[in-house]
């Protein structure tokens, strides 16, 4: 206690206090949100996925996509989009959409795996469409080099060669692919969500898609051999870094070197 009372007028005391406050608030918030999530994942179970999915759909999706997924002025018809589409859109939190905008943004997932599965089952029952891919295509056991070539030819112009994402027109963008699961990458390729084109099986074979996923997972896990990646954004980030950090440090040194004389 004595040490505390001695240190309380230390110049860094205010900063330490602020840090402590932030850590506590942040910690409490994190605990509170995980408690919520845990609750959400222990709700409804049902024997008939499509039937339960239909109820979920009517409650959460039909406002825009219409009863029976037939579409409305506010949202497209979902007949024939397939289970893969639902699994991607709902599974990455893009649907239900938070607000209208250039494109649906990723956000915390609103449905648990069971509910997503039920919704997918319902939408798949509306009409034939791409199915959720089999595990064998997602095992990351393909040819990374071939996948890299496919990626650079077909994907890099929007997603960037290092999969760091890129801008499209009028506020749309291709997201960075880091932390995207192999299943969602595969589903995105077969369904073409948002502004992405569809890469059908005749376009890129299922094995090719497997190679692409293998490549993406490999560059994600292999780390950066050259040190901090600076966002994998290329020369813009490098230029910014050399001007601000590089030149900044050098200027600090020049001031130090010349500070002792007039």
């Amino acid at each position: 206690m004595k040490a505390l009372s001695q240190k309380r007028r230390h110049p860094l005391a205010a900063i330490a206090l602020l840090l402590m406050g932030l850590l506590i608030t942040g910690g409490l918030y994190a605990v509170a949100t995980t408690v919520n999530e845990a609750k959400a994942s222990t709700t409804t179970f049902s024997a008939n996925d499509a039937e339960e999915g239909g109820k979920l759909f009517a409650a959460n999706c039909a406002t825009c996509h219409g009863m029976g997924g037939s579409g409305s002025q506010d949202g497209p018809s979902l007949v024939g989009v397939g289970a893969a589409s639902v699994d991607f859109q709902v599974g990455t939190g893009r649907m239900p959409m938070q607000m209208n905008g250039p494109q649906a943004l990723e956000k915390p997932v609103q449905f648990n795996d069971e509910q997503t599965h039920q919704l997918a089952a319902y939408v798949a029952s509306l009409g034939a469409g791409p199915a959720i891919p089999e595990e064998s295509l997602l095992d990351e056991g393909g040819d990374a080099a071939a996948g890299g070539e496919l990626f650079r030819t077909n994907c890099a112009m929007c997603h960037n060669a290092a999969a760091a994402g890129g801008a499209l027109t009028r506020g749309k963008f291709a997201p960075a692919l880091e932390d995207t699961s192999g299943k969602h990458i595969y589903e995105a390729m077969v369904t073409g969500p948002q502004n992405m084109p569809v890469f059908s099986d005749s376009n890129i074979t299922p094995e090719g898609k497997r190679d692409i996923i293998t490549f993406l997972k490999q560059i994600e896990t292999s780390g950066s051999p050259g040190g901090a990646e600076l966002g994998s954004l290329g020369p813009v980030a490098e230029g910014l870094f050399v001007w601000i950090a590089g030149l900044g440090v050098i200027i600090a040194f020049t001031i130090w070197l010349t500070s002792r004389t007039s």
């Binding site: 990374a144 080099a145 996948g147 890299g148 070539e149 650079r152 030819t153 890099a156 112009m157 929007c158 997603h159 960037n160 060669a161 290092a162 760091a164 994402g165 890129g166 801008a167 499209l168 027109t169 009028r170 506020g171 963008f173 291709a174 490549f215 490999q218 560059i219 292999s222 950066s224 051999p225 050259g226 040190g227 901090a228 990646e229 600076l230 994998s232 954004l233 290329g234 020369p235 813009v236 980030a237 490098e238 230029g239 870094f241 050399v242 001007w243 950090a245 590089g246 030149l247 440090v249 050098i250 200027i251 040194f253 020049t254 001031i255 070197l257 010349t258 500070s259 004389t261 007039s262």
Partner: protein, 556 residues
């Protein structure tokens, strides 16, 4: 004869080292050189060290670059990668890219050296740019240093050339895209463009010759020219002596500072290692140009976020800003059966052309307007040359708008705005940005000058409010000490020079233009406080301090 030689016995050093040194000195005259150079005086200011940073970066570039040449093979022959980077195993690529990957993954210390080289290149051009800004804004390009300004500008262009030729060497997707843009720019030149492109690439793009040719330029011609220019540049620095910031006791006939030896030389030598250390740390901890991410060059794929290194960015940005139509006019025209790609030609060459032309000519432009042909060794504080500072800022902002445009896609994704809006805003700023910058800078400079004048005349506000016996409140102003006041009043303030007739008694049109520009430069100048004004403000004389200022103000 023998008597003369015995009268002055030859000096014999006592120690072995001494004898050795004496032997060398007697043959190359080192001590004379050292005496001359060791006593050269350099003024001390942090902003004078950017040229040194550029020089040291260049030395580091030579060292790290030599290392890289041991392992780099500039061949465009095709091969299949068989090195240690798994995601590229078996991929078909050029030998150049293969050897770049080997340097990165299979040569001990290779990746570090590559990153040192690339970071040093970025720092090299950046320090040149900052050095030039310092020279411009302090008026250090005035007589006698106009030629050295030109040599420095040539160095900037050569540094960009060195950077660009180096950027293209690894033959990865990123650099190949950059070369493709250069190819497009060359081809947009009317009539000769396609021929130049064919000669440069040895046939249709990309051909099999370009990497080897760029390599020769990069390691031989451009560095040799840079070295030559550096020698000229430093020679002229020695001849002209260094400039100095204004201050008491400093004038155009002296240099106030520290002699080169020993302290300054030690500092400069130490500074080399500081720069080297900073670059080594950057290279050790921050990746630059991860060529393994980009894959081998192939003309079909183009990656998002493809940009050149920062110093070419402004050209790329200008290309991005160029609209395809101006009103109803298609910028790409088909005349006499030939395509004229003004949509590429204009943005690629015109802004850079304007920037460099004005940059090269500026010393002469200002000299013509001011008719100032005197030698200047005392620098201007930027605020004391408001119009020049404003012109500089206008150019700087114009450059920065184009520079920012090169990263328009990243601005859009990282700030969550529409790419189109970013382009529209930057197009607008391309036109009005320099104008706003000019006006704002000039107003700020004039305001700062007025503040200086106010402080010189009335002293510094202390914040102490005193109530006098009869009830009046006054704020106590503390008078400045003489050294500080000198800085605020001891500057040159050129006045408007009206047009004068030539020897035939005619006011030429050119002279009228000059007079107009002179008016534009200096009509709203803020004159420094004169000794008489100071006298009146203080009510007591400072004759000793103000005498030189009086002499100065009489000289115009």
């Amino acid at each position: 004869m023998s008597a003369a030689s015995t009268a002055e016995p030859a000096f014999v050093a006592k120690t072995k080292t001494g004898r050795f040194t004496d032997f060398v000195d007697a043959r190359v005259g080192g001590s004379g050189i050292l005496r001359e150079f060791g006593r050269k005086v350099f003024p001390d200011h942090w902003s004078f060290m950017f040229g040194e940073v550029a020089l040291y970066s260049f030395v580091i570039l030579l060292l790290s670059g030599t290392f890289l040449t041991f392992f780099f093979d500039p061949s465009m022959a095709e091969t299949h990668y068989d090195g240690s980077y798994v995601p590229l195993k078996g991929v078909e690529m050029s030998v150049a890219y293969n050897s770049s990957l080997d340097i990165s993954f299979d040569v001990r210390g290779g990746l570090f050296m590559r990153q040192v080289h690339h970071w040093a290149a970025l720092l090299f051009v950046a320090s040149i740019a900052v050095h030039m800004l310092r020279v411009f804004f302090t008026g250090a390009f005035r007589r006698p240093r106009e030629m050295n300004w030109v040599v420095g500008s040539v160095l900037l262009i050569l540094a960009m050339a060195a950077g660009f030729t180096g950027y293209s060497l690894p033959d990865d997707l990123l650099s190949g895209n950059g070369l493709r843009i250069i190819d497009g720019v060359i081809k947009s030149i009317p009539i000769v463009g396609t021929y130049i492109s064919f000669f440069l690439f040895g046939g249709e793009f990309p051909g099999t010759a370009i990497i080897g040719r760029l390599y020769m330029l990069h390691i031989l011609l451009v560095p040799a020219l840079i070295l030559l220019m550096i020698v000229l540049h430093l020679f002229m620095v020695v001849v002209h002596k260094h400039t100095q910031y204004p201050g008491p006791g400093r004038n155009d006939n002296n240099v106030v500072g520290y002699p080169l030896g020993p302290v300054y030389a030690a500092k400069a030598g130490g500074f080399f290692f500081i720069v080297f250390g900073v670059l080594a740390l950057m290279a050790g901890f921050f990746t630059i140009n991860p060529i393994w991410n980009y894959g081998p060059y192939d003309p079909s794929p183009v990656s998002a976020g493809t940009q050149p290194d920062w110093y070419i960015g402004f050209v790329d940005g200008a290309l991005r800003l160029m609209p395809g139509t101006l009103g109803d006019w298609q910028v790409e025209q088909n005349w006499f059966g030939f395509v004229f790609s003004f949509n590429v030609l204009l943005p690629a060459l015109v802004p850079a052309g304007i920037l460099f032309t004005v940059m090269f000519m500026y010393p002469w432009i200002e000299r013509w307007i001011t008719k100032d042909d005197r030698e200047h060794h005392v620098l201007d504080r930027p605020r004391n040359a408001p119009t020049r500072t404003a012109i500089g800022m206008a150019g700087f902002v114009w450059y920065c708008v184009m520079w920012a445009a090169a990263g328009s896609d990243l601005i859009a994704t990282h700030f969550g705005v529409s790419l189109n809006d970013v382009t529209y805003w930057l197009r607008t700023l391309f036109i009005i940005g320099p104008i706003i910058a000019f006006i704002v800078t000039k107003r700020v400079a004039l305001a700062l000058q007025r503040k200086d004048r106010e402080i010189a005349l009335h002293g510094r506000e202390t914040g102490r409010i005193v109530r006098l016996p009869h009830g009046e409140f006054i704020e106590v102003h503390a008078p400045l000490d003489e050294y500080k006041r000198y800085k605020l009043v001891g500057f040159e303030s050129p006045e408007v020079l009206p047009a004068v007739p030539n020897e035939h008694g005619v006011v030429t049109r050119k002279e009228k233009r000059r007079a107009f520009l002179s008016k534009w430069f200096f009509e709203d100048r803020v004159a420094p406080a004169t000794p008489a004004e100071l006298e009146a403000a203080h009510g007591h004389g400072h004759a000793a301090v103000e005498a030189p200022e009086e002499a100065k103000s009489l000289s115009h």
